[in-house]
């Protein structure tokens, strides 16, 4: 669970008013709120002086931004080359079945978001899954199920 949430104002205050800071701000808001709401997007544009169309195209182009609320827990299954070769896809299927949500989606109760990523940089221990901030290296269906069952 997050500590006390930073206000949007305090995040904005950390950045000079320049369009160059658009992506940095979006990242901070994403990190703090888990998604970028239309109100926040508008506030960010005002702050950096970028047109809403630019912010919108940026927020949709880059994969790390989400314009919809995300789950309390984020599960990222690596499907980078090494993890792909070592059966990463089966792990995604396991999550899909266990959590009842398709890849790239969030459960309706906003508890889980299941995502796939292209390499977490721990390829030597493929396949790798990230559950919130924790890495699960050398994962298999059993260890993954065990880890998922611990999520509350």
């Amino acid at each position: 669970m997050k500590k006390s949430q930073k206000t949007i104002e305090s995040i904005l205050a950390g950045y000079p008013r320049h369009p160059q800071n658009l992506i940095g701000l979006l990242q901070d808001v994403q990190a703090e709120y888990n998604y970028i709401s239309p109100e926040h997007l508008a506030l960010i544009c005002d702050h950096v002086g970028a047109p809403l169309t630019q912010a919108w195209s940026v927020a949709t182009f880059y994969k790390s931004f989400s314009l919809e609320p995300r789950g309390e827990h984020e599960i990222k299954v690596c499907l980078g080359t090494t993890c792909h070769l070592k059966g990463g896809n089966r792990l995604v299927e396991t999550c899909e079945r266990d959590l009842g949500v398709a890849r790239g989606q969030t459960t309706e109760d906003l508890r889980f978001t299941l995502d796939t990523v292209n390499c977490l940089g721990s390829c030597a221990l493929a396949p790798v899954v990230m559950v919130d901030e924790d890495y699960l290296g050398g994962a298999n269906i059993r260890s993954l199920k065990k880890r998922l069952s611990k999520l509350e």
């Binding site: 880059y62 994969k63 790390s64 980078g80 090494t82 993890c83 030597a124 493929a126």
Partner: protein
């Protein structure tokens, strides 16, 4: 930490630091690199902290959490200095024994020492472990010595000496001469001569210039840059500051991949320390030279590793490449001349300035100098990071350093260069690896990912994997790339689904030619490599999929068939419990039935069956 007002001050501080350090001080280095972190390095380090405290060893034994120690397959790695005992697969439960036996009584914990995966030969000391023999660490040298968050550690090993040398004893021209004469080529993929690029930028007429470090590391399967940014961040900064001095830039940026939060933390800390000590900021070491560095975080787009797209991303736009020329060296960030180099390229710069261009140029092959770091992963026994002189053969890397494959598996190919590279078959294992040799066999050096594949990998599936990746990541700006990847993906899907025709191979080759010749950026231009190289070297596999509708590696699901052998099935129902679609039915203790119509070929029953009654072909 003091602020260094002059070079003499720095030198004096370094001497004191070195004199105050006892080379025989016992040290425990817990690897906290990209491989060991997921395997619980934090808990191991915490266990050491507690255990050392309990035994009253707090001031006597130094505990450090360091960067990647190389042999990630054996995570969590712990190195005991000064003896250099390399323990493997350490868990918190092993820690009391290590403290008691090794640190207090100077004995080995036999069960934690290295054992060769095939010969079972044991080795306790780093120098005796085959994985490390034959390596030549330059960029990775400090990773298992320093605490990446300690500037003192970096200084004690000669850190910022190259900066001092450049600022006080070399003109910008001389710095560029040295880089040029060293023969250093870019480590980010293209292999462009670094000195030549710097010269162009230095000669560009502009008061404002920029330095960029490309830490986007987009190739899935590669983590060298992550390991360097996390494990030796000051080396990257020092290289960039020297680069700034050489071309006359005052501002640098490090663009770090979104997935690497720890790299950002360590780099930020290093930047703060460097500012505090006067290696960054105004009038660095009283030389009159100003330079500072900012971090820009990526946002999850592979194409942003491409230099023009990366620049657009730092400027706050979507990462679409723009046609070159003009090259960034002439017109880059905010339209000013900009040098962009890869993390590993930057980390080589201080070493070249310290040791001299001739030293560097004496390592490697005719046209590829120095060493290269590879992330050796996939089907080899000893996965991890290796650094070898250019010209080392693939066989040495895979079989000597990598310790070969599992005894029950056969080597199939090495994939280098990420999505822009190709699959290199067995016949080229004795190829000395450098930029040109890899290109001559249809692959590329790329940033250093080296993925070993065995007979359980299907090359058609690998080609499809990369094309699907590139199709997702194509920015869509130019037609050959956008449409080409789409068509290739469609054809490969048809082949995998059992609807392939032999003409498909010719069609794909034609598509590849068009994409290679008419895409704007490297993504589209090199996208054909995975397809071309697999068609060229593994045509038989394609034909097995197309003519016989068989995937011999048992990877392509639509071509697989699962059956239950009534002779061996004990009716234990393990498979029934696993099957997600209820395709398996039957009575307990009797042979089970598998309904082919319902089966989605997930393979779970195959794995669940302990009697090998589930067959697949």
């Amino acid at each position: 930490m003091p602020k260094f007002e002059s070079v003499d001050h720095l030198q004096q501080y370094r001497r004191q630091l070195q004199a105050s350090r006892d080379p025989n001080q016992p040290q425990v280095l817990v690897c906290s690199g990209p491989g060991c972190l997921p395997m619980g390095s934090i808990e191991v380090a915490a266990a050491f902290r507690e255990e050392l405290g309990k035994n009253g060893l707090n001031g006597k034994v130094l505990l450090k959490e360091c960067g990647c120690q190389g042999l990630c397959a054996r995570a969590v790695k712990v190195l005991i200095r000064p003896q250099e005992i390399a323990y493997q697969e350490v868990t918190p439960e092993d820690v009391p024994e290590i403290v008691e036996a090794t640190l207090k009584n100077g004995q080995l914990v036999e069960r934690l020492i290295y054992e060769h995966p095939l010969t079972q030969e044991k080795a306790a000391f780093k120098a005796d472990i085959p994985f490390y023999k034959g390596q030549m660490p330059i960029v990775l040298r400090k990773l298992d010595i320093i605490d990446p968050q300690s500037l003192d550690d970096y200084l004690a090993l000669g850190g910022y000496r190259a900066l001092r040398k450049a600022l006080t004893g070399m003109s910008p021209d001389e710095v560029i001469d040295a880089v040029e004469q060293s023969g250093l080529r870019g480590r980010g993929g293209g292999g462009f001569p670094t000195g030549r690029k710097w010269r162009v930028c230095q000669e560009a007429l502009s008061d404002i210039k920029f330095i960029i470090c490309n830490g986007d590391e987009g190739d899935p399967g590669a983590f060298m840059d992550r390991a360097v940014m996390e494990g030796d961040p000051h080396a990257v900064l020092e290289g960039m500051i020297i680069g700034g001095y050489a071309i006359g830039a005052k501002q640098g940026y490090i663009y770090v991949r979104h997935e690497y939060p720890l790299a950002v933390t360590h780099l930020n800390k290093a930047i703060d320390q460097a500012r505090e000590c006067g290696f960054l900021g105004k009038n660095i070491l009283r030389s009159g030279f100003d330079f500072d560095i900012k971090i820009s975080r990526g946002a999850g787009a592979f194409v942003c590793g491409e230099e023009t797209a990366l620049i657009a991303s730092i400027e706050g736009y979507i990462g679409e490449p723009t046609p070159r020329p003009p090259y960034p060296a002439e017109s880059g960030l905010f339209d000013y001349p900009t040098i962009i180099n890869n993390v590993e390229t930057w980390a080589n710069i201080p070493e070249i300035i310290n040791m001299g261009a001739e030293w560097f140029a004496a390592i490697g092959t005719e046209n590829s100098k120095g060493t290269k770091v590879f992330s050796l992963v996939g089907a080899v026994n000893q996965t991890g990071l290796v650094e070898v002189p250019m010209g080392t053969t693939l066989r040495q890397i895979v079989f000597e350093l990598g310790g070969g494959l599992r005894p029950d598996r056969q080597f199939k190919a090495v994939q280098t260069g990420g999505p822009s590279g190709g699959c290199i078959p067995e016949q080229f294992l004795d190829l000395p690896v450098d930029y040109d040799s890899l290109q001559s066999v249809g692959s590329i050096m790329g940033s250093g990912g080296m993925i070993v594949m065995d007979n359980t990998s299907c090359t058609v599936d690998v080609a499809r994997y990369f094309i699907s990746f590139l199709h997702d990541e194509s920015c869509g700006k130019c037609t050959p790339c956008r449409e080409g990847t789409k068509h290739l993906l469609h054809i490969l899907d048809e082949i995998i689904a059992g609807r392939g025709e032999e003409e498909h191979l010719t069609l794909m080759e034609e598509l590849c030619d068009t994409m290679a010749s008419s895409s704007i950026c490297g993504l589209g231009m090199s996208a054909p490599n995975p397809v071309r190289s697999t068609i060229k070297y593994f045509r038989d596999e394609y034909l097995a999929h197309i003519r016989d509708k068989k995937c011999h590696a048992l990877v392509c699901r639509p071509l697989l068939k699962y059956t239950i052998d009534p002779e061996t099935c004990t009716g234990c129902l393990a498979c029934v419990r696993e099957c997600p679609v209820g395709a398996i039915t039957g009575k307990k203790k009797l042979p089970q039935d598998l309904d082919q119509e319902l089966c989605v070929k997930c393979g779970l029953c195959y794995e669940a069956c302990q009697f090998e009654a589930v067959k697949v072909e």
